[in-house]
């Protein structure tokens, strides 16, 4: 999610349905940090991701994506447990243990439904902690305060500490934020560039995309209405 937030924000009379005013009380400051992140993306990440996308064979890119997913599984298992989702906790533990044989580069557990990634931000939402205002952090990007706090918690409560003696694993883990950022940016190269270069207001588009994506990932998303559902509920179809 670090890379997701970074990319979405780096490139990136009111009706009652427009929640952006309430969600983003620090918009002016956020826009300045967004502009900084945008420059970092243009100068460093975009060219690196372009090179990665063009030069690395698809099989190697898949292996890196597998590894990044695998490296996040201990946090997923922990948070799934905290959310009471024992099935996902067990599934992610199983995937992590089996795929540790290849450092996650090759997925040895072929299942139609892999474990669903979880983080502390989602766990906090399960316990009804409010999402808080939208904040854009340097490098880390834009997210809700709850999500940002959860991300810090993810870093502090690192399940890899149990594996400290396994040098290969800890080295792989230390590379994970860099790898995941490049891998994600390359995989979403055109989409992110579309936000950067084709939008009327990149900041607003990135924020909107973040909220909608995040909503879809929330454990409670199936019981709440999405923004699109609300938009069409209020819409008068007659001309």
């Amino acid at each position: 999610m670090i890379c997701l937030g970074f990319i979405l924000t780096s490139c990136s009379g009111v009706d009652k349905s427009d929640a952006s005013l309430n969600r983003d009380p620090f918009e002016n400051t956020n826009r300045q940090i967004y502009a900084f992140n945008d420059s970092v993306d243009t100068l460093i990440l975009e060219p690196v991701a372009y090179g990665y996308k063009k030069a690395i064979p698809q099989s190697a890119k898949t292996a890196v994506a597998n590894h990044v997913f695998w490296a996040g599984l201990p946090n997923t298992a922990l948070n799934s447990g905290l959310q009471g989702n024992w099935e996902n906790a067990a599934l992610s533990s199983l995937h992590f243990s089996v795929n540790a044989l290849t450092l996650g580069l090759i997925n040895l557990v072929s299942e139609e439904e892999p474990p669903v990634s979880q983080d502390f931000g989602k766990t906090l939402s399960v316990y009804d902690i409010p999402e808080g205002p939208y904040v854009v952090l340097p490098i880390l990007g834009g997210k809700t305060s709850r999500h940002a706090f959860g991300q810090v918690a993810n870093m502090i409560v690192n399940p890899y500490s149990a594996l400290e003696e396994k040098k290969a694993i800890s080295q792989a883990v230390s590379m994970q934020p860099v790898l995941s950022t490049i891998s994600w940016r390359a995989a979403n190269f055109d989409i992110v560039n579309d936000i950067k270069y084709n939008s009327l207001d990149g900041y607003v588009r990135a924020r909107s995309a973040y909220y909608q994506l995040r909503f879809g990932e929330m454990p409670s998303s199936s019981i709440h209405k999405s923004e699109a559902d609300s938009l069409f509920d209020d819409l008068d179809f007659e001309e």
Binding site: N198, V204, Q212
Partner: protein, 206 residues
């Protein structure tokens, strides 16, 4: 109970059953129409992508598809929120034309040179009595993201006409995103609808 009463109850039951049957048939027809519309559109897009034509011609072809398959009036109205009512007829007409061109432009740019894709249909669910949600996965082999979840919101008024009003990729609604951008621009310009028109014109000129 008299014979007449029994007959009345029987007649009423038959009428209710017919009503349920007709209603279900109408709903089934709407969902079928919506799925057919999406499949037809994807076939048309695939044909355009497989043909070697100039970027300009591709945009023109996409624009024709937008007018044929999308309810551009609803999209124009929904994408400007409360500011639609305050706009003049000329502004509404101009904006509707521009937003169609913008969608064609963005679609053409996003699809790039992808010419090999298929739609794995999952479900079609009525949303109220005027809309159907068609869901599935767009399968794009040899791409960095080979499977993209897509939901199509199709407007299905009482007539047989079905038109697309929104597309969601991985839970991101194109209409919601466009509306938020539009509203931000209008608000930044003290509620001026022409400022939005100017911004879109500027974007299309690039």
């Amino acid at each position: 109970m008299t014979v007449y009463s029994k007959l009345s109850v029987l007649l009423l039951s038959v009428c209710m059953l017919c009503g349920i049957f007709i209603n279900n048939a109408a709903l089934a027809s709407k969902t079928d129409n919506a799925v057919s519309l999406v499949n037809e559109l994807l076939d048309e897009v695939s044909n355009i992508q497989k043909t070697e034509i100039s970027i300009e011609q591709r945009r023109t072809d996409f624009l024709k598809l937008i007018y044929a398959y999308f309810d551009i009036n609803i999209i124009a109205k929904a994408s400007t929120g409360p500011y639609w009512r305050a706009a003049t007829s000329d502004e509404k007409e101009h904006y509707t034309k521009l937003i169609s061109e913008l969608i064609a432009d963005v679609t053409s740019s996003q699809l790039g040179d992808i010419d090999n894709f298929s739609f794995d249909f999952q479900s079609s669910i009525p949303k109220g009595d005027k809309m159907v949600m068609v869901s599935g996965n767009l399968l794009v082999p040899n791409q960095s993201i080979p499977k993209i979840s897509v939901k199509w919101r199709v407007s299905t008024p009482d007539s047989d006409i079905a038109k697309i009003i929104d597309v969601e990729f991985e839970n991101i609604s194109m209409l919601v995103t466009q509306k938020q951008e539009n509203v931000a621009i209008i608000r930044k310009n003290a509620g001026s609808f022409p400022a939005l028109i100017e911004a879109i014109e500027g974007k299309l000129r690039k």
